[in-house]
């Protein structure tokens, strides 16, 4: 008995070979680029913007009734209250710190938490805008850095950048504060 065959049917290898080729090409070229772009975005997010960013969601308002700083000029006046000890929990991807922009300041602030090692700087976290009267105690760890960070005690700095609350313009003055960063898993 003869089994009827469709001589016009396209061979299976002609269907699957191009699909397989597309998958291989995507895995080689497209997906790594997407990952690269994502990393670039993460890096850019860590820099301090020229214009004031949105308000930091992790910052909480604190009771502060002290007078504003006596400043005779139209420049800036800031007050910084902080601890120079910072901890990073890699598993939680969380940076714990104590940093307050007291209500007596007349500038908004953005803070970077930076590890310094072998003359290189690694931005572990960056806040959004901290207005006067707000306290910051946690930040999300830089997703790129979290993959490479090892347990230990590191030297680092807070880099504090100031913004005019009315114009959102970055001030010509910034502050560096040496800190100690302990990293745990």
């Amino acid at each position: 008995m003869n089994i009827p065959t469709n001589k016009n049917a396209i061979p299976m290898y002609l269907i699957f070979t191009p699909i397989l080729l597309v998958i291989i090409l995507m895995s080689v070229f497209v997906l790594p680029n997407m990952q690269h772009q994502e990393n670039d975005i993460s890096r850019l997010d860590m820099l301090t913007p020229e214009k004031a960013p949105q308000q930091e969601l992790n910052a909480s308002r604190v009771e502060d009734t002290t007078d504003t700083i006596d400043s005779n000029t139209e420049g800036g006046a800031v007050s910084l209250v902080y601890s120079d000890k910072v901890s990073i929990d890699i598993s939680d991807k969380r940076v714990s710190l104590y940093f307050m922009n007291p209500a007596r300041s007349n500038q908004d602030m953005v803070i970077q938490v930076i590890i310094q090692r072998n003359e290189n700087e690694y931005i572990t976290a960056r806040s959004d805008l901290i207005p006067p009267g707000f306290l910051l105690q946690k930040l999300k760890l830089n997703s790129v850095l979290s993959e490479y960070l090892q347990e230990g005690i590191y030297s680092g700095i807070f880099n504090v950048v100031y913004y005019d609350p009315d114009t959102g313009k970055k001030a010509s003055v910034n502050t560096n504060i040496p800190i100690e960063i302990s990293v745990t898993k």
């Binding site: 700083i69 420049g75 007050s79 209250v81 120079d84 010509s172 003055v173 502050t175 560096n176 040496p178």
Partner: protein, 166 residues
């Protein structure tokens, strides 16, 4: 079985009671007294940094002056209000002594302008309890020739104030 369980329970209760009795110093006579030590531990405050920084507008004029004698221009940097707009003051209300230093960084677009703080660093002692904050100041002077002369409220640089525990 019930008897065994009851025995274990009773023994457990007796044991726990005996612990309590042993831990106390019983008063056995009428009008007797007992004493207990009250202990205290000094917990020192952690380092709390509280620093105020004020600065003037940090605005300058790059002034060109024609000198007929030598038939040439001279150039000078002048703060818009010398002694006020170029002043940076730092006050310490921390419970530690701090070192304050100043470093000027040229802008990457308009280069050639050099910033020189009149005092590049100073130490601010921890203020006395109940006293006023310790403070000091510097004036930022500019010099040099900018890469671009037609300046109009153009950013020429920035200054970093570094606060270190001293």
């Amino acid at each position: 079985m019930k008897k065994i369980l009851s025995f274990i329970l009773v023994m457990t209760l007796i044991f726990s009671l005996s612990l309590t009795v042993n831990a106390a110093n019983p008063i056995t006579t009428d009008g007797g007294t007992d004493t207990a030590d009250v202990t205290a531990t000094y917990i020192e405050s952690p380092d709390i940094f509280a620093v105020d920084i004020t600065w003037g507008t940090l605005t300058y004029n790059f002034v060109e002056t024609w000198l007929p004698d030598i038939r040439a221009n001279s150039y000078d940097w002048i703060a818009t209000e010398p002694g006020v707009t170029d002043k940076i003051t730092v006050s310490n209300s921390s419970n530690v002594r701090i070192n304050v230093s100043f470093a000027y960084t040229q802008d990457t677009t308009t280069t050639g302008v050099i910033g020189l703080p009149s005092v590049t660093s100073f130490v601010l002692n921890q203020p006395e309890e109940g006293g006023t904050a310790t403070s000091n100041f510097t004036f930022l002077k500019l010099s040099g020739t900018p890469s671009w002369f037609l300046l109009s409220h153009t950013k020429v640089g920035s200054i970093t104030v570094t606060i270190t525990k001293s």
